[in-house]
């Protein structure tokens, strides 16, 4: 009860967002991001799951983010700003994706 009250006060004080952040999953298989295009909101998290046996990156063309995703690993990115972010893999530039943050 006391904990619940504390959390409520904390949420009020910090102005917690109305919607909880969601996790948007992108699978990497055979050198392709799937889905290729994703749309998410500020506060959401993009999760890349690399199913390939080589490492990849998710690198924004404008430099907004550069996520290294080792072979077989999962990496996350918390979305903090709105915009359109075309991205690619620095190691294999034939891999292309598009992230829109609203």
């Amino acid at each position: 009860m006391r904990l619940a009250l504390c959390l409520t006060v904390a949420a009020f004080l910090t102005g917690a967002p109305a919607r909880a952040g969601e996790v948007v999953e992108v699978k990497i298989d055979q050198l392709a991001y799937a889905p290729t295009k994703i749309t998410a909101h500020v506060g959401d998290t993009v999760e890349w799951k690399n199913g390939d046996f080589v490492a990849h990156t998710a690198t924004a063309i404008g430099g907004a983010f550069d996520v290294m995703i080792p072979a077989g690993a999962t990496r996350r990115l918390l979305l903090k700003e709105t915009g359109g972010f075309p991205y690619y893999c620095r190691f294999h530039p034939n891999m292309k994706g598009e992230l829109t943050v609203m």
Binding site: Q30, L31, F53, F91, H92, P93, N94, M95
Partner: protein
């Protein structure tokens, strides 16, 4: 062509050329001062190492022995000659020659995969590895193309 024969030829080609590319990358890592060339060479060591590891695991599983053939021998001979030429160069000259070699090498490898190796492969695991290999090496070719542009 029977699967074992195709795979023996493929394994020899992939392992030999992968190893040759790793040797070239190690030469670049010891010699280049260019940030992008160094990053590319590191990618080659890592990716070709991973592909070779995968190929060796499949060799073991399918119980085949890599068999050298004319294509693999000529590719390795060419790689050895290119590396000997490269080893005489320094600075920007070395960087440019290394990047150009990498474009040519991956073009040749991708051509062999597309026209001969993938159509000949009937084993699904082999076909899968070859197809993934092709996509990885197409990525390297584009990356090398970009490297050539940045060094102009």
């Amino acid at each position: 062509m029977p699967i074992a024969k195709v795979f023996a030829a493929f394994a020899a080609l992939l392992l030999a050329t992968g190893t040759a590319d790793i040797k070239a990358a190690k030469l670049a890592l010891g010699r280049s001062k260019n940030k992008e060339v160094i990053a590319f060479a590191k990618d080659m060591v890592r990716d070709h190492g991973a592909v070779n590891q995968k190929a060796l695991a499949l060799v073991k599983k399918l119980k085949v022995t890599p068999e050298d053939n004319d294509t693999s021998r000529s590719l390795v001979q060419k790689a050895d000659e290119d590396r000997a030429t490269l080893s005489k160069l320094h600075g920007a000259e070395f960087d440019k020659a290394y990047a150009n070699n990498e474009v040519a090498y991956h073009k040749t490898m991708n051509g062999a995969l597309e026209t001969t190796l993938i159509p000949d492969a009937s084993n699904p695991e082999l076909k899968d590895l070859l197809s993934t290999g092709l996509k990885i090496f197409q990525g390297h070719e584009q990356h090398a193309d970009h490297l050539v542009e940045t060094l102009k």
